[in-house]
């Protein structure tokens, strides 16, 4: 069992006691961050966290209070290589993107175009973001191409 599972269990316990037993974790990077950053995300999002070991990576499922589901995918080496989200309201992307957020922001602003702004596709060498935004339906995926484990198909990530 990986240490991050213990953390996840702790996080879940802490959450269920409504933060009374919460031990602060460093608010480190998230996309590109380590397992600690997953529980930091969960904390900031005031969400429930569940971690599932998969064959090629660990998947951490975060359900925010607003019902938005976030998945964070962590390599065997302990780095978050992808995050996905789906829900009727968007999650805190600044939190989820961590150090990659400014890059995302710059790329998004360079793509502004007139109209209803319903989809966004950023395909950079070190960051890919695909998102859709419609009222009551927000979804997206962001990943770091060179961190994706061999054999993992990003289009299949939930």
């Amino acid at each position: 069992m990986k240490p991050n599972h213990l953390r996840a269990v702790l996080a879940l316990c802490a959450f269920s006691l409504y933060g009374a037993l919460w031990l602060p974790v460093p608010a480190a990077a998230h996309l590109g961050g380590d397992a600690d950053s997953v529980s930091a995300d969960s904390d900031v999002l005031h969400a429930q966290l569940r971690s599932i070991p998969m064959q090629q990576y660990n998947r951490h499922d975060i359900s925010t209070a607003a019902g938005t589901v976030v998945h964070e995918y962590e390599t065997r080496q302990g780095t978050v290589f992808a995050v996905t989200w789906q829900g009727s309201l968007p999650p805190d992307l600044q939190q989820l993107f961590g150090n990659y957020y400014p890059r995302y922001q710059a790329a998004a602003s360079a793509r502004l175009r007139p109209g209803m702004h319903r989809q966004l596709n950023i395909a950079g060498p070190d960051l890919v973001v695909q998102s859709t935004a419609r009222l009551r339906a927000f979804g997206g995926i962001a990943y770091i191409p060179n961190l994706v484990p061999a054999g993992v198909s990003v289009v299949d990530l939930q």
């Binding site: 019902g67 600044q94 502004l112």
Partner: protein, 435 residues
């Protein structure tokens, strides 16, 4: 692509289409005392596909506009705002503060019912940014229909709202910290959202106390805020469904179950512009019957399924606010972005016209085969604002879902019905699309 000459050209088009009536019709708002519907049926308003407001600065196409009249509730103090983008893909009326100011109308911000010294504001997230501004009420007339005391959103593009967008809007709620508070960001003086919902947010924004024992706090992702102008501070707040920004159509006394967008068929090369109608109500008058249209009921998110080249695109929708047909097809060449046109790669640029077929399937099992063409964006004349064959790629993945976004090109040459959730409309009950 360059669109420098478009604005001048549109002025000429405007005269032809009669939308100016000889007056100067610059895209900014102006007060108006006359009704534009004349002898026409009262449930109809003119739709114009054209260059949009002057501040749009060109570069746009396939955006349908209408005029909307707003009055201070219960008074005859009114203003008509033109160039409002008609969007079947969203819900609620949103007007740029600058357009209201130009028209000389000041609306009162909605007071927070739980704190009378505060007002209600809304942060609306988009894929590449957010809008911010107060919620206000107005008596809104569109064509001959009236929505009294309508909750609407003023997009604060001129910093007239004392409470500025909080960080939870600019960085947390929005998908990116990019303000879309401008006429140029939308190429419109506002957005008239006449989609399949009654409220823009619904229960997610009405019930946030249900999860948090101490009520709403910053843990909640919500669209609505209670703002204190004096201290320039805002906090998430629930807003009851009836006070949320609402689909104006749902508040009409009659003809309140949906809309029809009617636009003419276009020549293959496209056209300088197009003129059509937005009809209110479905099956309520002699001019809005379903006839033989195929009804595609949707799921609660407003989606149906499109089958395209072996893909089952289960989150598909019809959207007058999308200026192209957006769908996943890696076999069609994508345009090359340039410095002057950084977004070109959001569109297709095939060497030859692609003649394609898809099948739409509603939740009710009804199916409809749609034939459509995709031509190169580069072949669209800079002086043309209407094209039925512009498209672009859509990403698809397990996380993102998969969709076919049937944007405005789909509407040319076929009336498209959009029925509001829970409302009987003709032979079926919304939410549905029909055509």
């Amino acid at each position: 692509m360059s669109h420098r000459c478009r604005w001048t050209l549109w002025l000429g088009l405007c005269m032809l289409a009669g939308c100016g009536g000889g007056s100067s019709s610059g895209g900014s708002a102006s007060s108006s005392s006359s009704s534009s519907s004349g002898a026409a049926v009262s449930n109809v308003v003119t739709l114009t596909v054209g260059a949009g407001p002057a501040a749009a600065m060109g570069g746009t196409f396939n955006i349908p506009y209408a005029s909307v009249k707003l009055c201070k509730p219960g008074t005859t103090t009114c203003a008509t705002i033109d160039n409002v983008l008609v969007d079947t893909g969203s819900v609620g009326l949103r007007i740029m503060a600058s357009a209201l100011r130009s028209a000389g109308l000041t609306l009162t911000d909605m007071a927070d019912p739980n704190n009378s010294s505060n007002s209600i504001a809304e942060c609306l997230p988009f894929a590449d940014g957010y809008t911010w501004g107060p919620v206000a009420t107005a008596d809104v007339s569109i064509g001959g229909e009236l929505a009294s005391n309508l909750s609407l959103n003023i997009i604060d593009d001129n910093s007239s709202y004392a409470a500025t967008a909080p960080s939870s809007c600019t960085s947390i709620l929005s998908s990116s910290a990019n303000s879309l508070n401008s006429v140029s960001a939308f190429a419109a003086n506002g957005v008239l959202g006449v989609g399949i919902f009654d409220q823009d947010c619904g229960n997610s924004c009405a019930n946030c106390a249900s999860f948090m024992p101490n009520g709403c706090n910053t843990a909640m992702s919500d669209l609505y805020y209670s703002c204190n102008s004096a201290t320039n501070s805002c906090a998430f707040t629930p807003v009851v469904l009836t006070a949320q920004v609402r689909n104006p159509v749902a508040l009409f006394a009659t003809d309140n179950n949906g809309v029809i967008v009617e636009l003419p068929a276009l020549p293959a090369a496209g056209q300088s512009g197009a003129s059509g109608t937005l009809v209110f109500g479905i099956g309520t008058q002699s001019n809005n019957g379903l006839g033989s249209a195929t009804v595609l009921t949707t799921n609660s998110a407003g989606n149906f399924t499109t089958l395209y080249k072996g893909q089952m695109l289960s989150s598909s929708f019809i959207d007058s606010g999308s200026n192209g047909l957006f769908f996943p097809d890696s076999s069609i060449t994508v345009c090359t972005s340039t410095t002057s046109s950084p977004n070109a790669n959001e569109f297709f640029c095939p060497n030859a016209t692609q003649m394609l077929t898809a099948t739409n399937q509603g939740q009710n099992g009804a199916t409809s085969v749609v034939k459509f063409d995709i031509t190169s964006l580069n072949s669209l004349s800079n002086s043309f604002y209407a094209s039925a064959s512009i498209g672009g790629p859509a990403a698809t993945s397990a996380a993102l879902g998969s969709y076919f976004d049937w944007g405005l090109p789909f509407f040319y040459g076929r009336p498209v019905f959009t029925a509001i959730e829970g409302k009987p409309a003709g032979s079926a009950t919304g939410p549905y699309y029909a055509y």
